[in-house]
């Protein structure tokens, strides 16, 4: 009896999946971290992409078809990236808003490129994403580390003018990538870098590194990586009585950072994409977020919204053929939630704006001039 019941379940399950396969929707894969330490970034991208999809569906969809989001978990782990990308492919989606983390995006790009899936990342900033295979089907709605790194370095050299700088990074694709960019730009600007060192992700005790930092006594500590490690560094640095100015890239900008670091977050500087929620042109979009009960704040939320806009505008223009969409995206400019978007031949943005933000004690942050 049990076996029979199981068989019925299995056949029902197949029935359901094949049913949706024939339904007239345009599938958009959204492989993002839904578990693990980078979950918040995945949440931001989901919020942006799903709001855009809901808003477009409410207006009748694209060419009369509804958009269907497929949520897939990549846990921000490189080894889960390719299976996650394959699930996008196997689900029959031709389009994707792909991967928050650079570490997962770099291996996944190959899958999208081979299978001809048009994918846009609103989160992965590493140059390796597009430089290694120069993809035709892969795009970004976020700047590259070598746009952000020099921007951060310029701010450090012109505004902060520290006598000595220490750079730490988490040895991962994203963290060490952006730290390298900052280091290069700083040494070209003649800054005095007294320490450049990697730390282990997942460690809980960084007191040894902090004691070492105290020995070097730098005026500024730049950290390339994510919020979990920076939160611990800030808290443990404060514990040892270090009050040095910290600075980091957009990967650290996360409310969990405040929870972990507590008061020690005060004064932290972060380079982030400019705050798109404040743009006059985005009033309607922010309205959409309120309608669907999602949070428009977060570094990757509006870029994710823009990714869906770009995909749907292209599908509207040339239809659902992935090749045609990719060609169209390379050749045309788009009006999106992150402003005017134009792509170069390997899918990178021609322009992307960053700004420097400072945290206060309560965990709020404001843009600096």
């Amino acid at each position: 009896m049990k076996v029979k019941a199981l068989l019925i379940h299995v056949s029902l399950a197949f029935g359901i999946t094949s049913g949706t396969a024939f339904a007239d929707t345009i599938k958009i894969g959204i492989p993002q971290p839904m578990t693990g330490p980078a979950t918040q970034y995945g949440d931001q991208i989901q919020a942006g992409a799903l709001t855009a999809i809901d808003a477009i569906n409410a207006q009748g969809g694209v060419k009369g078809k509804q958009l269907e989001p497929l949520l897939i978990d990549d846990a921000c782990e490189p080894k889960q990236a390719v299976p996650a990308a394959n699930r996008v492919v196997n689900a029959g989606a031709k389009f994707a808003v792909a991967h928050a983390c650079s570490g997962t995006t770099v291996p996944a790009v190959n899958v999208y490129e081979q299978e001809g899936i048009v994918a846009i990342t609103p989160g992965a900033t590493s140059p390796l994403v597009t430089d290694t295979i120069k993809p035709h089907y892969f795009f970004r709605t976020i700047g590259r580390d070598d746009q952000q790194g020099p921007f951060a370095a310029k701010y450090i050299l012109e505004q902060l003018k520290p006598a000595s700088i220490a750079i730490l990074h988490d040895k991962q694709t994203y963290g060490s990538g952006v730290a390298t960019q900052v280091r290069e730009a700083l040494s070209q600007g003649g800054a005095n870098i007294v320490m450049y060192e990697g730390i282990n992700v997942g460690d809980s005790d960084y007191s040894a590194v902090i004691t070492k930092l105290r020995g070097e006594n730098p005026d500024l500590i730049y950290f390339g990586g994510y919020h979990a490690e920076l939160g611990l560094l800030l808290r443990q640095a404060r514990e040892q009585g270090v009050n040095t100015q910290f600075m980091g890239p957009e990967g650290v900008a996360n409310q969990d950072l405040v929870a972990i670091a507590g008061d020690a977050v005060e004064g932290l500087l972060v380079t982030l994409p400019a705050d798109f929620t404040k743009l006059e042109a985005n009033k309607q979009i922010i309205e959409n977020f309120n309608t669907y009960g999602r949070d428009p704040d977060g570094a990757f939320t509006i870029p994710a919204y823009a990714a869906v806009q770009i995909l749907t505008q292209s599908i509207e223009a040339v239809g659902e053929d992935a090749d045609a969409v990719a060609d169209y995206m390379h050749e045309n400019a788009f009006d999106t939630a992150i402003g005017k978007v134009e792509y170069d031949e390997k899918g990178d943005l021609k322009h992307f704006e960053f700004a420097v933000y400072q945290w206060d004690k309560s965990g709020e942050f404001a843009e600096l001039e």
């Binding site: 330490p37 007191s207 020995g215």
Partner: protein, 308 residues
Amino acid sequence: MSDLLPQLIQQFFNGLSLGAIYALIAIGYTMVYGIIGMINFAHGEIYMIGAYAGLVTLSVIGVSSGLPLALVILIMLLVAAAITAAYGYAVEKIAYAPLRGSPRLVPLISAIGMSIFLQNWVAIGQGARDMAVPALVTGAVQIPFGDAFVVNAPYSRIMIIVVTVVLMVALSFYIKYSRMGRASRACSQDLRMANLLGIDTSRVISFTFVIGAMLAAVGGVLIALAIGKLNPYIGFLAGIKAFTAAVLGGIGSIPGAMLGGVLLGLAETFAAAYISSQYKDIVAFGLLVLILLFRPTGLLGKPEVQKV
């Protein structure tokens, strides 16, 4: 470079507090191995559950409950120890007891399965995200050296070292003088013979798991208070490190686990300080390889006599 000495002292303190946590967890590995000769790979997860139990207790009491801080921490420790004791007992009864007498690899695989299960169990219950623990114990003892460098010993880390030392001493006395301690020493010498002589070995085995779990819980709560971040996956790395510490000190030997934990903590810290933090694990595990090459039974381990 008059800073050298105070920096060395600061690093020594850092290493000691890290090593104390390793030692607390390592005891669980070593006691279980000493008695039934298996590696309980789910032990790291028990530590993680202890940390979560402490955090949940704290949020039930409330951060600003008005209770004295020491009392709040004591309640956290007791509740966490009680909960993990139940977990330790249940893990042994569910995953290992039915496999007693089977080839050694079988309970090992069962342990790995238990470890994965417990990780996901907590991830479902508490969410897979990082959770933050509010900084309860703030402030530090500051010892100035000259005018340049101040050795800074945060109270949260002093607490780790003090609590660990107290527990180690208590455990040593308990094992040495109590009835249960004598029984467990007898079991570790020869389980079957102890059984023949009328010792309730299955009770001793349960006791071993419970004691190990309680110590790991204390480690979990203390580190959660000192570090301030938790997720369901912290048990894996901590477990591997503590297992290394147990092997380093001589698996099966309780003083060995204590020594191994402290040594591993110091080795990691000094490697991070004077070589590079990217290579600290290489140094720590390199040390392990070296010690095993020259002393295959670990620092304080006794050569194993093949039991027939």
